[in-house]
Amino acid sequence: MNVEQQNLFRFLVGLGDDAVVLSHRLSEWCSNGPYLEEDIALSNIALDYIGRARMFYQYAAEIEGKGRTEDDIAYLRDERQFTNLLIHELPINDFAFTMVRQFFVDVYYCEYLKQLCESKDERIAAIAAKAVKESRYHLKRSEPWIRQLSEGTEESRRRIQAALVELENFVGELFIMSDWEKELVEAGIAVDREKLQAGWDQYIQKFLAESDLEFPDSQLQIRGGRDGIHTEHLGHMLSDMQYVQRVYPGLEW
């Protein structure tokens, strides 16, 4: 691979990792949802993200040209080789935490993917065009949930506010660009995430003000995901997610 291909490969694997990690977290609600309908709805969103991960990984594997498959990339890499942004890997915690995370990333993806539809790389633009529709639906679900929980009981409101405080620490990383990704932006392939922050802040602040919730505005920006530096949670998650392939290599069903 030349430098451009290496950058493109990194870019695709990063987006695939974001999707597969969040998908696995959402799938942890399967059979544990607050009630059956919500359980199915959350699992359905997990499947949307799996679809997204597959498309990014398949393309990455083709660019790499070493005969690896999407499954090799998902199941046979270690924690430090995963380059997802950290917000995706945090444990599901309680339902309020899960929904605030969804709300945060849904607002982010709606704009990010919309812009990625304009990528000069047609394959990436096509993936984004498919995924942005999913994210718009996801946002239609997550936003009313935050409003509903904030207007619910004292307990549900306290949990929403606590989730906002905790998750805000991981928001800054969504908008931090590294040099190699900026090169892809200059080539018209990637999106400049730095420029998305003002819009994201505005959307979230307006919504929270309407719901009389506090925007924590954390000064702490925990980062490192795109460089393979993770929270203590990802390793445990992968040991669960990759268990079958690690114990029975190549197993199919």
Binding site: P34, N44, F95, P144, Q148
Partner: protein
């Protein structure tokens, strides 16, 4: 979270343009908007439909089995309510 605050909604799906909405099942939800989204996730996630109606079950007024006797049976012995009861004159062809 318990289901005590949730209402039951009946779900109707139109499988293709030009067809009628058909009852496909029911679900629990917080609000009509949530019910519509759950219906999407529970009943048309494999593209089974092009349109969904959700109706809160309490808004449906249904006939009761015990009323069947005076509700339906009086129709049985009145053949003159059916068009086939009447003999058409020959001059009215192919009606």
């Amino acid at each position: 979270m318990s289901q005590e605050h949730l209402a039951v909604y009946e779900v109707f799906v139109r499988s293709a343009r030009g067809l009628d909405h058909k009852h496909v099942g029911s679900l629990h939800a917080e609000s009509p908007e949530h019910a519509l989204m759950y219906a999407r996730d529970c009943y048309i996630r494999r593209s089974e439909g092009v349109s969904i109606w959700v109706v809160e079950a309490k808004n449906i007024t249904a006939s009761q089995d015990e009323d069947l006797e005076n509700f339906v049976e009086p129709m049985d012995d009145k053949p003159y309510r059916h068009a086939t009861h009447y003999v058409l004159p020959d001059s009215v062809n192919n009606m």
